[in-house]
Symmetry: C3
Subunit: 343 residues, 3 copies
């Protein structure tokens, strides 16, 4: 990454920073990991397991935790702080605004906004985006190109809606929500009545509520509820290509990695963490802080704090032990055959 950033810009972003050493470099040209950084780059020790790389790095500026033992080389600046990852995040946020500046507020000449929509101050509506009747967009939200905001849908303030997002009628999006490209909010739930040999559609009259500070990855789909609402709790982060069925309730601060599938009416309490490609059968309850390994198949309720793996899912340690024993099955069968032969 090529950036152009002066030390005078960087240091004020981290109020608790203490500089040590000095460098003739006044402009940072890139941000890199310790091992790949070159002169004029900024690097950082985010995880102490890489501390042996610090004395070897060519970076001109290195963000370090307060307690790091060691001194800068000649022509190198150490910047010590409580949490280098957060310092780095501050610098990145500063850079992001420079690299990808927000568009100036306004409605793109190719967008279509219904005359009865309610667009707040500071909003950008991008090219070819559609805003329906009685829809509303809160202050300082950015809606990129090719988005659909259905009738009566609402977006809060300071949201970032990437290209091609479809928010269908009546769905509600909270403040500071980020929806990546291609996200679908409010698709019809998958519910049918069996009538003889055919499947008769059950209309889905409910909606989807996305609370504040939620982020949702590209092409993820969230179905609307049958009557009431499908709800994603505040601060939950959902990755790409995730499926969330009708009537699901996800708690606050959950992490749901890519390609997870959550069937209808599942309920997550807060701070649940789910690895990629895991799946949940319908109508389950998952307790607070539970952790589910990638590719697990969950078919029963999960207790708070549990850590499960596999399909059928087992407690993580047991699943690991069984995996080890499965590798020994050929040996076991052989020994058993021998024993039997000896009698």
């Amino acid at each position: 990454m090529n950036v152009s950033l002066t030390l005078d810009e960087v240091l004020p972003l981290i109020p608790d920073a203490v500089a040590e050493g000095s460098t003739s470099v006044t402009e940072i040209k890139g941000i890199s990991s310790l091992d790949t950084a070159r002169e004029e780059d900024l690097s950082f020790l985010g995880n102490s397991k890489y501390k042996s790389q610090v004395p070897l790095t060519s970076a001109s500026v290195v963000l370090l935790p307060e307690g790091y033992v060691g001194q800068p080389k000649g022509n190198q600046l150490f910047v010590r702080m409580k949490e280098p990852s957060r310092g780095l995040a501050e610098i990145c946020r500063f850079l992001e605004k420079r690299i990808s500046p927000s568009p100036a507020p306004g409605i793109h000449e190719t967008a279509f906004v219904h005359p009865d929509a309610n667009i707040a101050e500071g909003v950008f509506i991008g090219p070819f985006s559609f805003v329906g009747r009685n829809a509303s967009v809160g202050p300082n939200s950015e809606i990129s190109s090719h988005c659909h905001l259905g009738d009566h849908a609402q977006i809060g303030e300071s949201c970032r809606i990437h290209p091609g997002v479809k928010i269908l009628s009546r769905c509600l999006i909270g403040d500071r929500v980020i929806l990546n490209a291609g996200v679908v909010i409010g698709s019809e739930g998958y519910g049918f009545d069996q009538v003889g040999e055919s499947h008769e559609k059950v209309p889905h009259l409910g909606l989807v509520v996305i609370e504040e500070d939620v982020e949702i990855g590209a092409n993820t789909c969230i179905d609307r509820a049958r009557f009431e609402e499908t709800r994603i709790g505040a601060g939950t982060k959902i990755d790409n290509l995730v499926q969330i069925g009708h009537n699901v309730k996800i708690g606050k601060g959950c992490l749901i990695v890519a390609q997870v599938g959550i069937s209808g009416s599942v309920q997550f309490e807060d701070h649940v963490v789910v690895g990629g490609q895991a799946g949940f059968a319908g109508h389950l309850k998952v307790g607070k802080g539970a952790k589910i390994a990638g590719q697990a198949g969950i078919t029963k309720d999960v207790e708070a704090g549990a850590f499960l793996k596999g399909n059928p899912a087992l407690p993580f340690q047991l699943a690991q032990r069984i995996s080890v024993l499965q590798r020994k099955l050929p040996e076991l069968f052989n020994r058993f055959a021998e024993e039997a032969g000896n009698k």
Copy 2:
């Protein structure tokens, strides 16, 4: 869900209904499950396992099966009918038209329809949608925003095409089909010839046929065939984020849950049911009425009526039994070690 619905509107929707008791409530404000319903709500007994909730419900109107034993409380109306789920569905369909009325027929001012396209009576073409050369749309079909209907593609009558659906050239969509947001019909099949170390593209010249009464979930993809057609049979319901490869044939009345993957040239007979995230290797045949559990991995042909689970997939009962025994592997290994030690 807040609705506003008078009893005079509701009762005629269910011709076989018999009312019992009486209520001063003349306007229904919501539809809820028995346990969450409040006064002025309508509720229903869809599954007899919840019948103990009926005497406790606060709902003002309750849909019940004919044979339900019990009487309404004071100021409560029981409505008995053959199948309360179907009665409810009728009410929901009525409400749906009120909550999400169809747009008036016409072509949105921002849409682009090729002059050689053929648009029937009663059709709505939404904002920023594109209809290509010689494409056709049947009577009373609704196409929402940002859709693409490629050259020579055809849509039947009374279809509902949600925002951002891409129906690529020459694909054929039957009557009363519902395509949720972001669906792709007719993407290029994944087929290559190995030429030395590189993979040379095999052009896919065929198309996709979607028969009548099919529903397809958000962001699902169906590839076009190499020469002939990929086909989805009448009445089949496909959930979100499903992958259907080139040349696949799906029978009638199948149910395919979210994130299932079906490789090229697989053939399903009618009424196959597939749980979420299951996968099928290429060129398999799956017999009539087979059931496949979620996350199963199918690598061989499946007989009609089979019920399979796991990867490698086994008959459901055997798979369940093996799962139980796997949990006992630590015990088995311990006992075996003891036995061996005793000799």
Copy 3:
């Protein structure tokens, strides 16, 4: 598939072809497999295991390998060549141009191209597509409808970008790349810092680089890197609904089948082949030519040339053997119980 193709058109497409026999058919009406072909069809022996079908086929023209032993029937033309699959591919490419001709170069009247974008000769920009500031499109590339090409993004020459593709700012697409409908290139990476109970966003400032001759399937998502780049190597073919996380590096000539998930910072060397729905944990290295079976779960580095299956993944032969033994677990437990009883 109905085609109309004269023998005079077909034969010059395959310079090494040698014709044998003769047919009164001068116009080919379809291309079909040996067993389904009718008179006036062209068929082919692509795989020698079908050679017994050759004497039985009704096709009027049959593409065969040089060494095929047998003669045409009356009124049938054999066309022998080194590799019938490649001959067929040539014919298909010829037909493709006839069936789906490229649109004439130009910018559709409904497209929006920023005045500072750089559009080369021979480019088509389709309906409702958006090309951002300082974006560039190389010679003879086709961009279909509803595409988004963000600021500073670049597309090489002779690319085919299908409807609804989103290429976000600064991403780089090489020459002859095919992106199917709904592909997202450059979505925000899934990376957060835990701050107390909440997850603070890590900005993703990097980009995505797609090298030449890559093909990507419908609705697949590729996240941008944190600082540097996520990269897909030349000639790699990726199927539909695949997830590729931030900072991933995929080598050249890899095959990645539908619904695979690759977590952040994974590195593939060249010619890796991954079956559908397999998943990779973060930060792994996968060696040259490794093969990963469908639905496998990879949680450790993979050696070059390895062939793995299952979750946890094991060498293919061992995994197969263990699968067989698992089916015998009920028997083993029974025998063990008997033995124990006999003592």
